[in-house]
């Protein structure tokens, strides 16, 4: 909300510097987003210096920009579109040249009966360029336009930085005295303030002024409404019928007769513009001005249109929900089809406006309007919110109504607005108001004690002090011993009942006390029982293991698309986002590997080798219930095995066994013993001959391998094989690690190599398993160090060379080792047809 300082000063004296006020407001929850200076001095902003608030604007030089008056508007000798003004700036007279269209009507009329007051800028004044787009500063220089010398000008709002209006020059109100520095007459500062959802009461100038008064200790000057009425009272002319008080707790009408529709006084237009609204005419401006001033949105109907529609009957205003398919053409000229959720303001002939959101075209104020029926109402904020959304009609009125406007403001708003209409449009209000108030709200009463303040806020405060703070924002407080009975003032709807009400009131105590004044303490409360989170701890441990194995962690998007996952052959049911931000982010990922492969593809050309891992959930649909979120680990490797150095150019590529080494390293670090690897030929993702599943205790922990060539071809990976692994994290981390450590042997080991020739089809793991079984406790390490195929050993055969470590609790003799070795060789021979290679 845009808040002009001058307007705030209607209700509270402000002695603080602008930035100090902004700081106070911000600390109290009225966050000042920016400060715009309109004529008053702008604090200088230098790079590298602290400026707590974003500030911009222009200062009006007090010597060079002043109030002036135009006595006569004369034609330019050489140009139809320019005029010359006989102008007095309080000291001397000038001939000023201008092209402002709003002066044309006065051209050649001789001396004006009443001089026109203007904002006058002298030579050397700095202003915004009225002809440039946006705000470009310029300095007035002496020049000649079509043969006439020009060195000064009468200004538009755009040139002064008040608004972007450059249609004509400003006509000031008659109270402006020539020679007065313009900055003194109407220099201003506009605060842009974010209004939090629980501070809807502050979405108006008076509401902010109330906070300023409370925060600065200044008295709040309430608007004094002067009512002057005449003619027949409204209650004889208009009736109200409310069909659903839940949706419309209150409806108030006032009537004003014989208004003259014309522009509002300039100060009103200026304030509306500074507050971000466009002036329309005095009557519409009065409704908007009152809404901005005290927070009650109002709607003006052309009363004569309603009388005509009533066809001789008294005018009856009815509020009800719309009938299905009912239509109304709103002020913006759009015919809208309404739904049963929408509340309408109607008369006996039909719909007049969408309640609290937008008026109808037929009964709107026109140049010809003479008599006005003025509506001030209270609506259900949720209903207004839904309606404004449904018809995409955000407006200043619906903004306020959808956050909650207290019904007590309805009649205040109508009275205030009638006063402004009478002042600006010259009408006379009819006596009284018609006020239907079927559902007055209960303003909660809450009891607060110093103990409550201590318990929640940690500060000591007496009952009287609590009451004093709350009275500043108009809570009615009664102190009885240690108890303050606090009644919510009838302007706010954010205070609840019971424990909620207590919290609401304590928040006010904290805010008004100043949260910066609350001390910083360390918790004295006992520590809670300690509960481990082993799943989380093991997951973080696994991250460290993978990093130690040289992998780069990635974190990818949970939202992905069917198309992305289809590349990896992932299909079937997915968890779908109902309102995705883009088609490529429309489902939740089902495969972590697919996500990491996408990242691999993105990086494929950037680096010669890539080694990624990600840990995170995938999403398994369970229909209309919450999906399962199993956690997974995915690993991807691709590219060169060795990084290229200036003296070595190995072209070896990462392959299955590199990944297997990482997998084995990871499992070893997790202290998982007794894992087996089994070939998996039917995976749709991996090469049928280069894929293994990792089995532990009969359970599949994960699968890894080289990507199937068909899958590989769907990505832009380049030529290197891509290795992938996906593990079920929950399973992987659920395995209880074996932490028992074997003692370091005291006696020397015997090291020996043996090589055996077996059929090519015999898995290496089988050979190793037999060696270990046969060797028993004495063989403590079996390491395959060579695999050889060649003519020497025969086709379809391979030689496997193992390095064995024999170890015992004594120094082994050659004979003892030979006995075991012979047993191993014999067993291999017997069971696998192996031949010892010599």
């Amino acid at each position: 909300m845009k808040v002009p300082l001058s307007w705030l000063r209607d209700f509270v004296d402000i002695h603080l510097p602008v930035e100090d006020l902004a700081r106070k407001l911000t600390a109290a929850g009225l966050e000042v987003d920016s400060i715009r200076y309109v004529g008053l001095p702008v604090p200088e902003t230098k790079a590298g210096e602290r400026h707590e608030f974003k500030s911009d604007g222009i200062a009006w030089d007090r010597e060079k920009i002043v109030v002036a008056e135009i006595y006569e508007v004369m034609p330019h000798p050489n140009a139809d579109r320019l005029v010359l003004c006989d102008l007095f700036d309080g000291r001397e007279k000038h001939i000023v040249l201008t092209g402002a269209p709003n002066l044309y009507p006065y051209k050649g009329q001789g001396k004006l009966p009443r001089p026109i007051k203007v904002a006058y800028a002298k030579e050397g004044a700095t202003l915004y360029d009225g002809h440039a787009d946006g705000q470009t500063l310029m300095t007035l220089k002496r020049t000649k336009i079509r043969g006439v010398e020009s060195y000064s000008m009468a200004c538009s709002e755009k040139e002064l930085g008040i608004s972007d209006d450059h249609e004509g020059i400003i006509f000031l109100d008659d109270d402006a005295i020539p020679g007065t520095p313009l900055a003194d007459y109407m220099g201003d500062v506009v605060f842009e303030i974010s209004i939090l959802p629980n501070m809807a009461r502050c979405a108006n100038i008076f509401g902010i002024a109330r906070e300023v008064a409370a925060l600065t200790g200044q008295p709040l000057k309430k608007p004094q409404i002067r009512e002057q009425a005449g003619g027949s009272p409204i209650r004889d002319l208009v009736k109200i019928r409310i069909e659903n008080p839940e949706l419309n707790p209150r409806f108030v009408l006032g009537l004003i007769r014989n208004v003259e529709i014309k522009p509002s006084p300039y100060w009103v237009q200026r304030r509306l513009r500074l507050a971000g609204m466009r002036p329309i005419n005095n009557v519409v401006d009065a409704t908007n001005y009152t809404m901005l001033e005290i927070g009650e949105p109002l709607h003006a109907f052309d009363y004569d249109v309603l009388v005509r529609r009533a066809g001789g009957q008294p005018v009856t205003i009815i509020t009800r929900t719309a009938r299905p398919g009912e239509k109304l053409t709103t002020l913006d000229g759009v015919e809208r089809t309404l739904s049963e959720n929408n509340v309408l303001v109607c008369d006996s002939a039909g719909a007049l406006s969408i309640a609290g959101v937008m008026g109808g075209q037929e009964s709107e104020i026109t140049e010809a309007t003479r008599n006005i029926l003025l509506e001030g109402a209270a609506w259900n904020f949720i209903n207004i919110r839904r309606t404004a959304r449904e018809h995409n009609l955000p407006s200043e009125a619906s903004y306020r109504f959808s956050r909650g406007v207290h019904p007590a403001l309805a009649d205040v708003g109508v009275r205030r607005c009638l006063e402004w209409m009478a002042a600006w449009a010259g009408g006379v209000a009819a006596p009284d108001l018609v006020d239907a108030y079927p559902l007055p709200p209960v303003d909660p009463t809450v009891e607060v004690t110093p103990r409550d303040v201590r318990r929640l806020l940690g500060i000591e405060m007496s009952a009287e002090q609590i009451a004093d703070l709350l009275r500043r924002v108009e809570f009615e407080c009664q102190v009885d011993g240690d108890t303050v009975t606090v009644k919510t003032p009838p302007y706010r709807m954010d205070i609840g009942e019971g424990v909620v009400g207590l919290a609401d009131v304590l928040e006010e105590v904290a805010r008004l006390y100043g949260i910066e004044n609350i001390p910083e303490t360390r918790m004295a409360d006992p520590l809670p029982p300690q509960l481990g989170n082993p799943a989380y701890e093991r997951e973080e441990h696994l991250r460290d293991i993978l990093v130690n194995l040289g992998l780069q962690e990635v974190i990818t998007y949970r939202p992905t698309s069917q198309e992305r996952e289809a590349r990896l052959g992932i299909g079937g049911e997915a968890v779908r986002i109902a309102n995705p931000i883009a088609p490529e982010r429309s489902i939740l990922r089902r495969s972590l590997l697919a996500s990491v492969l996408d990242i691999t593809e993105k990086n494929a050309r950037l680096r010669e080798s890539l080694a990624f891992f990600e840990i995170g959930p995938v999403f398994v649909s369970r229909g209309n219930d919450l999906p399962d979120e199993p956690r997974k680990l995915a690993i991807v490797l691709t590219g060169k095995r060795y990084s290229q150095a200036w003296d070595s150019k190995s072209s070896a590529l990462l392959d299955f066994y590199d990944l297997k080494g990482i997998v084995a390293g990871m499992l070893d670090a997790l202290a998982l013993r007794g894992v087996s690897y089994e070939p998996l030929r039917e995976s749709p993702i991996y090469h049928p001959g280069k894929c293994a599943q990792v089995i532990y205790d009969g359970k599949i922990l994960g699968v890894f391998g080289e990507l199937h060539p068909t899958i590989h071809a769907r990505y832009e990976f380049g030529n290197a094989p891509v290795l992938g692994a996906e593990f079920d994290l929950d399973l992987l981390l659920s395995v209880e690690p074996v932490y028992t450590i074997r003692p370091v042997p005291e006696f020397p080991p015997v090291l020996e190599d043996i090589a055996v020739v077996v059929d090519d089809a015999v898995p290496a793991a089988q050979v190793e398993a037999l060696i270990r079984q046969t060797g028993g406790k004495m063989v403590t390490s079996v390491r395959l160090f060579d695999v050889f195929r060649g003519e020497q050993i025969g086709r379809g055969k391979k030689s496997l060379a193992y390095s064995l470590t024999y170890q015992a609790d004594k120094t082994l003799t050659d004979d003892e080792v030979a006995t075991v070795r012979n047993k191993i060789v014999q067993r291999l021979q017997r069971e696998l047809g192996a031949v010892l290679r010599t």
Partner: protein, 352 residues
Amino acid sequence: MLERIEQIKKEALESLQKVQDEAALEQWRIAHLGRSSPLMQVFSEFGALPKEERPRIGQAANQAKQVIEASFSERAQAIQEMKLNRALTEDTLDVTLPGRDFRRGRLHPSTQTMRRILAILAEMGFQVFTSREVETDEYNFQLLNFPPHHPAREMQDTLYIQAEGRGDNPLLLKTHTSPGQIRSMRYFAALNPDNPPPIRIALPGMCFRAEQITARSEVQFNQVEGLAVGEGITYADLKGTLADFARRMFGQNARVRFRSSYFPFTEPSAEVDVECFVCGGKGCSVCKQSGWLEILGCGMVHPVVLQNGGYDPRRYTGYAFGMGPERQAMLRYRINDIRYFWGNDMRFLEQF
């Protein structure tokens, strides 16, 4: 004879000075200490000398031999040293050539920052409690005091999940870590429903908003929330805890500033700014000249939320605070594009 010995010694020592390498040294040794060297000649002629001269001549010859041998060893050692020095000089590397790459693994910067936050919180007594990412409207909003159609819901653009027949309780991607407040409170309350234990936990997790992916906004982001519930926890404790946290996270001199704010699930609520740790509060481009960085939202747990979690608000109070690791990483490392995090470009990741 004595003169001859003296002459032999002199010649040997003089020629030794000219010897520069091992080969020449060996030649010299054969020539001057070998079997047919002049000195050995003297020894072989020894028998022919008159008996009374033998001791004198013998002594002189032995002395000459010792001197020559000592000089030889000395020279041999000098030549060894020369040789080593030459070899070392020839074997010099260009130390400015690049070293061979070693594949270094790294944690994602978001994980790194998350860990930093959680480590500090852990030392302050906040244990990690994790919860799911797809949530119900009930847990994400209603139990946290956001009734349906409440204006506060507009503060968070929500991504909903397609599901039928769920009425006012649709599925959604959690918009904040706060559903974990309810889940953890209910978990702890269930341990002892009549006398729920105090709580001090950290809730890390991925959160989601229906926002376009731009340099400034993301569809997913991490959050960490701290929650403390007990029978004597005050707003002053919240301020003290966050001031302590800020000093640990941002430096011993980090000052914090509290501004009143609004969240439906806390009351009173506040935004917390930390004095800019880049410029020390003097004003710079990171803090947009304001001297302050907005890094936290916090407040006292709303009584309705306590109640929904199984904690009687008349007996218990609590506070909660939340922050974003990516935002903190962006400030710390001056990252000006939030898309870098989930873009996972190696050129970004390698820098951590």
